[in-house]
Symmetry: C2
Subunit: 482 residues, 2 copies
Amino acid sequence: MSCRSLLATAVALACLALPTIAAAADAPLSAQAIATADKLRDAGIAGNATDGSRAYDIVESLTTEIGERLAGTPPANRAVDWAKAKFRKFGYDKVYVEPVTFPLWTRGVEEASVVSPYPQHLEITALGHSVGTHGAIEADVVEFATLDALKTAAPGSLAGKIAYISNRMQRFKDGRGYPAAVVARVDGPSIAGKLGAKALLIRSIGTDRDRMPHTGVLDYKSDAPKIPAAALSNSDADLLSNMLRRGKPVRVRLSLGAEEHGMATSYNVIGEITGRRKPDEVVTIGGHLDSWDLGTGAIDDGAGVAITMAAGALIAQEHPHPARTVRVIAYMDEESGSFGGRAYANAHLAQLKQHQLGAESDFGAGRIYALRAGVKDAAWPVIEQIGKVLAPLGIVTERNAADADAGPDTGEFAAKGMAWAQLAQDGTDYFDWHHTANDTLDKIDPKALDQQAAAYAVLAYLAAEAEGGMGSGEMPLPKAEK
Amino acid sequence: MSCRSLLATAVALACLALPTIAAAADAPLSAQAIATADKLRDAGIAGNATDGSRAYDIVESLTTEIGERLAGTPPANRAVDWAKAKFRKFGYDKVYVEPVTFPLWTRGVEEASVVSPYPQHLEITALGHSVGTHGAIEADVVEFATLDALKTAAPGSLAGKIAYISNRMQRFKDGRGYPAAVVARVDGPSIAGKLGAKALLIRSIGTDRDRMPHTGVLDYKSDAPKIPAAALSNSDADLLSNMLRRGKPVRVRLSLGAEEHGMATSYNVIGEITGRRKPDEVVTIGGHLDSWDLGTGAIDDGAGVAITMAAGALIAQEHPHPARTVRVIAYMDEESGSFGGRAYANAHLAQLKQHQLGAESDFGAGRIYALRAGVKDAAWPVIEQIGKVLAPLGIVTERNAADADAGPDTGEFAAKGMAWAQLAQDGTDYFDWHHTANDTLDKIDPKALDQQAAAYAVLAYLAAEAEGGMGSGEMPLPKAEK
């Protein structure tokens, strides 16, 4: 996931703020549907698919055969073909792509070192979509404890300097330390640029203590100079702060070969299990196919693609198929700013009301602990019924979770009025590896993925079977992003 | 520590195999000496030195102001001056250096990738003292589950291939997984070279699951061609094995810019607290000042230098000084093969019997859990008395530990007959970070270092106060290394 989930959180809160009017209708899901969902859950958790459709096998295939796949680069294009082939192999009856256009950026070489007074190498990585340095730049470093502290710097006070924001992200199960910390990465470059800085360094937005920097997209504002921006690993941030604490000027040399290459087009890859009664109404689940270019994109978001593709495969193998169509979407270029999710929302806006529910897996490979939803009140009994089927998986149903989140790609359509659900994952360790070279297959527990695939299969199947809609196009739109 | 501790283990076993003849003499340490040792222990564990002589402050200084310090390179030379200045500052009354000559090697660029069938970047690092590739080499990979499996390959069967040893090191508190695994790194290159391989890749000798390769020295045999050798991170080793499991030929490209630069001379740095009654008899403690070039050498072995330097500082500040001289040695170039320890042993062989006891800290920054020793039987009561003073630190005295170890540098003199002690540390996590970029200050708990400095102060002080010798020059020599 990228910082765009901040918007999704705003969506969630707005939806959940609706007054609670109890819907006392008869149970909207048939006993037959519940029985089938139980069966899907148990098949999912068993994890004994031998055709490659087990979630772990899918992410093993993606990370081994493709690996890193920055949107617009050759491996990401190979991943599109990979996803089409997998959907076909697993019995999806309709497989197609939809175009996504986004800015293509490449990292190039990146090097940093302290020149004086304590010459040392520094481990850094460019923030996504940073401009390059066009050769090495060299300047003294000025440390700010937080982004807010940087905001209070006097105009011009950073002229010729490298600004450095040193605060550390906090660890929480639900990842709420991320929005609190990521503003330094998203907004820091333009704030430092306006203050005259030559470049920005930040402490990585991550909870680890590894010498491994975390990348992630920045957001240059149109009224600020674009300055190069990079993240130090947590270990190197400690090192730089310890040097600065000694009181002598600390001079850093920085080279970033990052470059923008204009707009590129790639694809969301979509596989469907066509609904038996209402084929034009859809439940969407999915994850994003692209990844940053440092790791192999296992937890972000190979896992999400694998979980939802496996869930769809479970449903495809179950007959009869559900009443509505189950659409699994492997989104392209979430990382630069939910381009795949936005392309989907724009392309399907006319079918908003035919979108029964959307959900997304983009928070790593930890187990799911809660079901949440942004649906109309009359549809809440459906969510509760789904929650009962999920309960044996250790999942509780939460109606008013403050951190409910439609996800970065699904959030784009949720912001336009699509009903959504969230299967909230344990993200305690997620930000140890997020956006680093350490995003690799060994961070994934196959049994945890089985639990998640089982949960998505249940959610998608029952949402596709429910009597009546969940509220797409009927709910008040959330407030716009601040 | 490097692989040389294998020899030390052999030393330990030989000494411990002596028959146990109880020495029922009067307690060889005076009540006054024990009282002073109690005081040193309590001062150490309090960790409230404000002059920079607390162990954590010393390693913070070394890693921040110097950082990586491969023997013979400019930062290692700066570390020599750093160590002299620290010894002087902390009240050591004699500070000097002794020359150490060793082969100078530099790493240069290092890159690897899978060319086909699944093009991907691989994270590797050259094994220490590997030859370079002189441009890129490209070859198919042949996997061996263990070094023993490689040994059974048919002569010539690896011609034109890259051999790859994939077995994983096991985690133990005492690090005994290391000697079992490190043979692939030490002996693998010449075994693969004799079989005609173009290069050797090994799974990193490490217990982590980070995308961070572990370096460490290799040993080219004189009768084998020298082939380039590098370690894959554990994550990349998984990746390569997963590719190979698919059955298609996997072609890898490898570039190593490693180079030998002939012999270089640097220094062991020595600080002494001169003995008040027997100044020519010495107790040595120490760690190694050099480090590999990937991390900042915090746990290997900034911690050992800091712990023993801090222990000496505690003793220097206590008056009267102990009967014998306490000599703290910051060894140079342990990593290429205990060059500092060997230089010391050779330079001081004539004073073997004046060496009361030697001990070394080179196993990271984990707490000490056991006192062991290689001393004559008649001296064992001294060890037991020392053990009683150490007991409040959570340290037990072990007479027959199978994994007792004099340490890689001290082991060089122990192999010539010096009595030695070991303060065994908890190494559960040590090999997660050992010889990687992740060897940084954030892996160190300041309070754990206090415990260790306290223990070394007690050990050195009481060994220097004990009536009678500990057995240097009087014990049978250990068997030679296999």
